[in-house]
């Protein structure tokens, strides 16, 4: 069957272990204000205007964002880097957008990859309700589960709807998946305070099999994309965070017995 994606990135070395190929699904159930991939949100075709310089001339190139692809064809694309996966212990990462918003397609891709012995990783925010969740879990070697906040009000304000659903899916994944790495984007003024982090830690401690986390510093990289998409940047002048800024928060996780997965 066909799915709707907007990019395939090779040598993706920050989306799980080893050398990976990351497939970006188009369409997301959330609207995180800081989203650095705003083109991933809408499940529809979009266009982005890119200015490119060649010599003294500047050309406006209108690029289509989003295309449909057959699952078999996608698996073929992914398998091109099999040797690199084998050598590095890497594999494929399905990201987005929200890959679980296209559950049947995701399932077919996962199945295709497993048939070729490619390690699978699903990067999800968990804000989707699907009866196929158990099957997805069964075919996924590693979940990258995005946790933004454990505060339902903050979630509603900055992220969107579906907080309870996220919590249910987190529980399901945490209890059933073979490996889970929690990814936390650290956003100034949203969750970069100690209380927010303590709250996340206390929830995660309920799941004894979940002990790997990865904190991602906020970055303004998405700023230009909003302009190209003709949309407004909603993060004002929030500043970039560095790995050093995250150190005290990383320390908290380490103190609570979590292993920090560096990306």
């Amino acid at each position: 069957m066909q799915g709707f994606i907007f990019d395939i990135k090779r040598y993706a070395v920050n989306d799980g272990p080893g050398i990976r190929t990351t497939v970006f699904f188009k369409g997301c159930s959330l609207r995180c204000r800081w989203c650095h991939n705003p083109e991933s949100q809408s499940p529809k075709h979009e266009t982005m205007t890119v200015k490119r310089k060649l010599g003294d001339n500047i050309f406006d190139d209108i690029q289509q964002v989003g295309y449909t692809i057959e699952s078999g064809q996608l698996v073929e694309q992914i398998a091109r880097d099999e040797v690199f996966f084998d050598e590095s212990g890497g594999g494929v990462t399905f990201s987005g957008g929200e890959p679980i918003m296209q559950p049947e397609f995701l399932l077919e891709c996962l199945r295709g990859c497993k048939q070729r012995n490619i390690q699978t990783c699903v990067d999800t925010a968990g804000a989707v309700d699907t009866p196929l969740m158990d099957k997805i879990i069964a075919l996924t070697d590693i979940f990258l589960f995005d946790v933004k906040t454990m505060n339902s009000e903050t979630f509603a304000e900055y992220v969107g709807t579906g907080f309870d659903m996220v919590m249910r899916n987190l529980a399901k994944v945490a209890e059933n998946a073979s490996r889970v790495i929690i990814r936390i984007p650290v956003i100034p003024g949203v969750n970069d305070d100690e209380d927010s982090i303590d709250q996340i830690i206390s929830v995660l401690l309920q799941y004894p099999r979940v002990r790997e986390v990865s904190l991602l510093p906020f970055h303004r990289t998405g700023f230009d994309k909003y302009r190209r998409l003709g949309r407004n940047w909603q993060m004002g002048d929030a500043h970039n965070l560095t790995q050093e800024d995250l150190q005290p928060l990383n320390n908290k996780f380490a103190a609570a017995g979590f292993q920090l997965f560096s990306t």
Binding site: K9, R10, Y11, V13, P17, G18, I19, T21, R52, L54, G55, N57, F59, D61, R80, D81, V83, F84, D86, E87, S88, G90, S262
Partner: protein, 789 residues
């Protein structure tokens, strides 16, 4: 291990030494030939006696604090010329003196020596004069047009490395073998054996000459020891004198002796002539390890001493810039680097893992010394541990372009395919930039670069070169009349075959001239089986003989062919006539078309099978055009794909091209994609590069650019290890990494003074960023920018 004060000082002295022209060697060889003392002798004996004369009379230089002695010139970086090969005119000396990059200073006295003595004697008698007198006009036209270059017009063939065996062999052993070989000659049964006898006599003379040269160092060291007040240095000097009396006459037994032994041999080779790639100790860790192990077991040395003597050895290479080049040859290879490439790792003769303690010691030395010369590489076999590569990545990530990384298992396959014995193949490696060879048993000679993209420009113009205004190639037809891409490609093939014919003709003439006039008895005694055959290295005396013609611009030519196929034939978006008009106008008035060629056309380096089909097609065609030809000394012609800096020169003679490249701009280097054309990351580049059959070559060069951010974490470094392993599983020959960010380079362009030590990977070698021409600097910045993904 941190550098000792002594080594820091030696290193600093070497970095600060000014590159100068020394007239010493040129004057001595002029005196020798003027005297006529050897005029009655056959050519090899004349050459041997001239070598002896130079070594008997050149000044002996021993630098303060050094442990390994011997300089090619009278002082570090005092660089000789070789008038019997190529005369440097007064104008050349002036250019060398004044040019901003890679200059060689000369004083009034030196210039007077060239004006009054050297030039008048050698004018019309140098090998270069012979070569240009014999070459046909069409060769000269093609050379002037930049279709190809010629390695041997200013420098001698060499391109080889010492075998491990010579680290366990002394000159007295060689004299014995020479005598045995002579004793077998029977001028009655073999009427032409006089040639062998002459050669063997010459070989015997050079053995004596190098031993005497070592003795002269011993005498000088004795003098210095007598005058030395510091008891420690006094003891060192006495020990060094002892070593110079032992090697190279006898086989070395300590690390210090082994390195001094090699160094005398190195000086012999680079004094005899100015061979390309100077000379090379080859598999240094393999050669030294048994000696090191024995010494450590017996307690005759310490690790500190081993490091110090190795580091002192490293300084010697840096004291020896490549002999000054002029004209086109300077443009193709303008660098102080003399391409000595030390091999570390790989497999042993029996095929087992060759990585040993000495391999790691040498990696430490490379990291701590951080010198332009010698260049270094690791050989990686599937049998070597990951730790070995990982340690090398720690050096690579510091961004000075060393060591480069080679695939032992591919090298061995390449050599087996070329008919070598498996032991000789395993004892081999790569020298120069990326050239495969059986060390100590092969003469593998590079003869020049071949401009594949330029020939496409000529194909588009029916063989006519607008830059030199000549009908250079055959008339293969007006491309507008070609109905299919295949027809177009056949025209290109016809042109390539024609120009290759011109190149091969020139090569065979030049090789013959070297065979007749420039035997190298000293280099010959080092390479098997020259002694046993009584035959010179130049004449096919080596066990194996290969001759390479290096294809340049694989990425560019692939993208050019793809653009024609895609835009003109498959999508029919541009007519052939419009394309040619746009190229003739250098895209002025055709900006949108150029934009589409650059941004909306499939490109090599993205693992795109559509684009990469042309890569394989053009590579196979190039291979078929060369392979199977024989050279006068009996060598097999083979291909390799490397550019040094020739992609800049070749670009400067090539008009606008269908890949959207503007006229006179650089071409792609090695088998790397066109600068900036690879947008899918390193795995895609590697997959594309691995689509050609590397085993059919004698070396390919792939440059991969990394920003430091990708190598910050342990995982990042391990991913590089995995990339290397993956490429090598696909039979990739070589990969090198440039780790530097564009801002640093831009700042270095503005403030060169702050970046005196900034070494970057160019192509097959590293160079000081400051010594690169501005266009090459820009190209490297450009390359670097595109990798900050």
């Amino acid at each position: 291990m941190v550098l000792s004060e002594r080594i820091k000082k030696l290193r600093e002295q070497s970095l600060n030494a000014v590159n100068r022209i020394s007239a010493e060697r040129a004057l001595l060889i002029t005196e020798f030939y003027k005297s006529g003392v050897a005029a009655a002798e056959p050519v090899p004996v004349q050459r041997a006696l001239s070598f002896k004369y130079i070594l008997e009379n050149k000044s002996i230089c021993i630098n303060e604090g050094e442990l390994i002695v011997g300089e090619r010139g009278p002082a570090p970086k005092a660089t000789p010329t070789y008038p019997e090969i190529c005369i440097h005119t007064l104008q050349d000396l002036q250019i060398l003196n004044d040019r901003k990059k890679v200059s060689f200073k000369s004083d009034e006295e030196t210039r007077a020596a060239y004006r009054d003595i050297i030039i008048p004697f050698w004018k019309g008698r140098s090998n270069r004069d012979r070569i240009f007198a014999s070459l046909p006009q069409e060769w000269k036209d093609c050379y002037a047009a930049g279709i190809f270059t010629e390695f041997q017009e200013q420098r001698a063939p060499g391109h080889t490395a010492l075998g491990i065996k010579m680290f366990h062999t002394g000159m007295l052993d060689l004299k014995q073998r020479i005598a045995e070989s002579m004793a077998k000659l029977d001028l009655v049964k073999k009427p032409t054996a006089i040639d062998q006898l002459d050669e063997l006599r010459a070989m015997d003379i050079v053995c004596d000459a190098i031993m005497h040269y070592a003795e002269r160092h011993a005498e000088k060291l004795d003098e210095l020891a007598a005058a030395e007040n510091d008891p420690q240095r006094k003891a060192e000097l006495t020990e060094m004198a002892r070593i110079c009396r032992k090697v190279p006459a006898h086989a070395p037994e300590t690390i210090h002796e082994a390195l001094q032994h090699y160094w005398f041999i190195h000086l012999g080779v680079v004094t005899e002539l100015n061979p390309w790639d100077s000379f090379n100790p080859g598999r240094l860790d393999q050669a030294l390890f048994p000696i090191y192990k024995k010494e450590m077991e017996e307690g005759t040395t310490t690790k500190e001493q081993v490091y110090e003597v190795l580091e002192s050895f490293w300084v010697k290479f840096n004291n020896h810039p490549s002999p000054p080049k002029v004209g086109v040859t300077a443009e193709e290879s303008n660098t102080y680097t003399d391409f000595c490439l030390i091999n570390v790792g790989g497999v042993k003769e029996d095929g087992s893992d060759g990585v040993n303690e000495m391999s790691y010691i040498i990696l430490d030395v490379i990291r701590e010394m951080r010198l332009l010369q010698p260049s270094s590489m690791i050989q990686v076999s599937k049998k070597n541990p990951d730790l070995f590569i990982r340690k090398a990545v720690d050096i690579i990530k510091t961004g000075f372009g060393q060591p480069s990384v080679f695939n032992t298992d591919a090298l061995v396959q390449e050599m087996l395919r070329a008919g070598k014995d498996v032991k000789d193949a395993r004892n081999g490696g790569c020298s120069g930039c990326v050239e495969t060879g059986a060390f100590g048993t092969e003469a593998y000679i590079l003869t020049g670069y071949f401009n594949l993209p330029k020939i496409l420009e000529l194909t588009l113009h029916n063989g006519f070169d607008h830059r030199t205004n000549k009908q250079l190639g055959p008339q293969t037809g007006n491309p507008v009349d070609f109905k299919t891409y295949e027809e177009f490609f056949e025209a290109y093939r016809t042109q390539v075959q024609y120009f290759m014919g011109v190149k091969l003709t020139g090569n065979n003439i030049i090789e013959r001239i070297f065979m007749r006039n420039m035997p190298v008895p000293f280099l010959s005694i080092l390479i098997d089986d020259c002694i046993a055959r009584g035959k010179d290295y130049m004449c096919g005396g080596a066990r194996y003989n290969s001759t390479y013609i290096q294809g340049v611009g694989l990425g560019s030519i692939t993208d050019m062919l793809t653009a024609v196929k895609y835009q003109v034939y498959d999508t029919k978006s541009i007519s052939m006539q419009t394309l040619i008009d746009a190229l003739d106008a250098d895209f002025k008035g055709y900006e949108k078309l150029q934009y589409n060629l650059v941004y909306n056309t499939p490109k090599y380096g993205n693992d795109d099978d559509y684009a990469d089909a042309q890569e394989v097609q053009v590579f196979d065609m190039y291979y078929d055009t060369i392979n199977g030809h024989k050279s006068p000394r009996g060598a097999d012609y083979r291909v390799n794909m490397l550019p040094t800096t020739c992609h800049v020169y070749f670009g400067s003679v090539t008009a606008a091209t269908p890949d959207g490249r503007n006229a006179w701009k650089v071409l792609s280097e090695g088998i790397s994609p066109v600068q900036g054309a690879d947008t899918n990351g390193p795995t895609a580049v590697i997959r594309s590069a691995a689509k050609i059959d590397h085993i059919k070559t004698g070396g390919t060069l792939l440059n991969q650019k990394f920003t430091p951010s990708l190598l910050k974490t342990e995982e990042g470094c391990m991913n590089v290890v995995h990339l290397i392993r993956s490429y090598f599983r696909m039979d990739g020959h070589h990969i090198q990494f440039n780790v530097v960010n564009a801002d640093t380079l831009r700042d270095a362009q503005k403030h060169p003074e702050n970046y005196r030590d900034l070494i970057v990977r160019v192509a097959g070698y590293s160079d000081y960023f400051n010594d690169l021409g501005e266009d090459l600097q820009n190209e490297i910045i450009n390359r670097t920018e595109h990798t900050e993904f």
